[in-house]
Symmetry: C2
Subunit: 398 residues, 2 copies
Amino acid sequence: MVRTEISEEEHRERIGRVREELERRNLDALYLTSGTSFLYLTGFSYIQTERPAAIIVPVEGEVTFLGPVIEKDHIPLKTRIIKEILTYPDYPGEKHPMDFFAQFLREMKLDKKRMGIDNLAGASARWGYKGPKITQKLPDASFVEAKDLVEDMRLIKSEAEIELLKESAKWCAVATELLQRELKPGVWDPVASLKASLQASQAMKESLGGKYEPQRWTLAPAHAGLRGQVGAMSAIPHAMSIGRVIRKGDVLGTGAGADVGGYSSELERTMVVGKPTEGQRRRFEVMLKAQVEALMTFGPGIKCSEVDRRAAKVFRDKGYGDSLRHHTGHGMGLEGHEPPWLDVGDNTVMQPGMVFSCEPGIYFPLDAGYRHSDTVVVTEDGAEIVTSYPRDLESLTL
Amino acid sequence: MVRTEISEEEHRERIGRVREELERRNLDALYLTSGTSFLYLTGFSYIQTERPAAIIVPVEGEVTFLGPVIEKDHIPLKTRIIKEILTYPDYPGEKHPMDFFAQFLREMKLDKKRMGIDNLAGASARWGYKGPKITQKLPDASFVEAKDLVEDMRLIKSEAEIELLKESAKWCAVATELLQRELKPGVWDPVASLKASLQASQAMKESLGGKYEPQRWTLAPAHAGLRGQVGAMSAIPHAMSIGRVIRKGDVLGTGAGADVGGYSSELERTMVVGKPTEGQRRRFEVMLKAQVEALMTFGPGIKCSEVDRRAAKVFRDKGYGDSLRHHTGHGMGLEGHEPPWLDVGDNTVMQPGMVFSCEPGIYFPLDAGYRHSDTVVVTEDGAEIVTSYPRDLESLTL
């Protein structure tokens, strides 16, 4: 059977590793506000709002949720890792959530202890949240910055995580193929994107079966779209929308993702509407050469910076140094972008289990942009490209 | 013609108000890291990542963007308010973005000045970003917390903002009606949601015309869905997904939004699949009574807390005090949730131009939840409900 989520056993093992690391750092507990850390350690995923929430992992004692009562009934449906759920009525409330948190931590006898914390405010300050810091509310506790603790654990993916990313990659390819069929002159890109995402999500659900559900908040469990990267807007790597429809001669930038157990791979392609011009062909081929060069560089023991340097060298050697707008890629897993970075400034040495996007690109303002993105897993003896979709211009000409 | 965006003139007027407030506070510039503030003040919206970005509004001098080169060509296509664009190659880079920012601020002669800042880190710490604080990099500058400055400006909506929210409300209703047609036993909720969102986005684009485009990153410019609020999962106000399909007897929770100029209204309905049971009918009617009571409370001079108190009293009087999981509503505009809060702890006095969701709800674990949400604008002499969709059980029985 296809794996679609992280097992309870693996979540327990992760909590165990947190506790070991806490002991090594001489800390009594870890205070986490990152929703991604909640999901990584417990399998509980939620919609982060202005309402403060935290998960406390004590070295001794139960994993405890502090947060709004709106999540009270949600948690037991999603995880057995969180054993205690301590809630306040709502934000801002007659008594501020941070006063509740201080009270809860006193009840847990942590108010005079040494805690690692991922955010010294003690709350994820979203959407107009205001409030005192937890550090002010518990003057006898000592708080130590420990944002890196869970983030570092996430750098190297387990076998199960890689399975989920591979399954995700499969649906990225299905979604991209469905999208490619919808892309033609006269179509507005959100319409093509929604059609492809509908079909891909339906197909994924039919294949993965009744129990499958996405773990993050998303309209489309599997999705592919253009995000406005149409014609001149394809020259904007992080375009978000375009008013006009697709026209003959446009360069298009596609992107796809799929939530399998909260993890998503990434697959992007540059496509051309109608017969490519000589200029389009030349720039496409240089981009492809840079991506192939980068893809061949991955492997255990290689520095992340090296991949970026090699891709950039291909562009510079061809005279396209001025057309660079970003580095070669980023780590991925539970978040769209994660460390390490395929960037000249990141000398992290690749290890088996690290997962990256590989997406060198070049951009020509008011004209077009060229970028493919694939998802790459570093293995014991090299690397595996887990996204499988044609890369050549002929296959990507509409 | 229907308004679909905020004019350049209104953005200039907002910048003018920021400068007046800076002078009042004896500050030389405002340092903003919030993407919502970028959009509010300049019309430039972007995808926030691990790459630090800031907008500097000096009392004297040009509005300036500090950030990654990936946004360089994007900004001039979206706004004429930002006059200077100062960029670094990428994150983390051989020279850290915060070192670039310190250099840029020195060049702007702000390194010995007094600046308001919305985030003392000087960067929006997303997705594994790490770095020094800007305050450490510019020891001779003085930084003053000023997160409230733009947030407070956003509390009262202008005529144009209210027009956009009303237009959004119209498409929320269209999307909800299209969704309602798709909801039937055997359907998986993302499939119904994607079908409705596709049709609604198409209809909105056809109506608003060629220039229309969403201002935020979204798969569906107009969307309606269930977000997993099906049967027992409707008892989870912030459910995100459910594996099983819709069945006869289910209570469903719908939600809709539509991006018009970056603004979105909110429309939610409780629906029942098949003839409601006596229990479903009773709970639905109590929820409706609480919403009507709350809706009748809105008006200038009324405290936000009063609306929440009155809605909760309806539930408590009927014996449903234990079924509350959240307060009555929240402000809205550019963000899904904004202050002020319809919460017993928020004594903000309502003023004309404030916009709220009104969504008292009750929840019965492992059974069902009941909540309608409408968008309400406070006017000179009362309040206007801008979302128009049937609220009665007969209309919402499938």
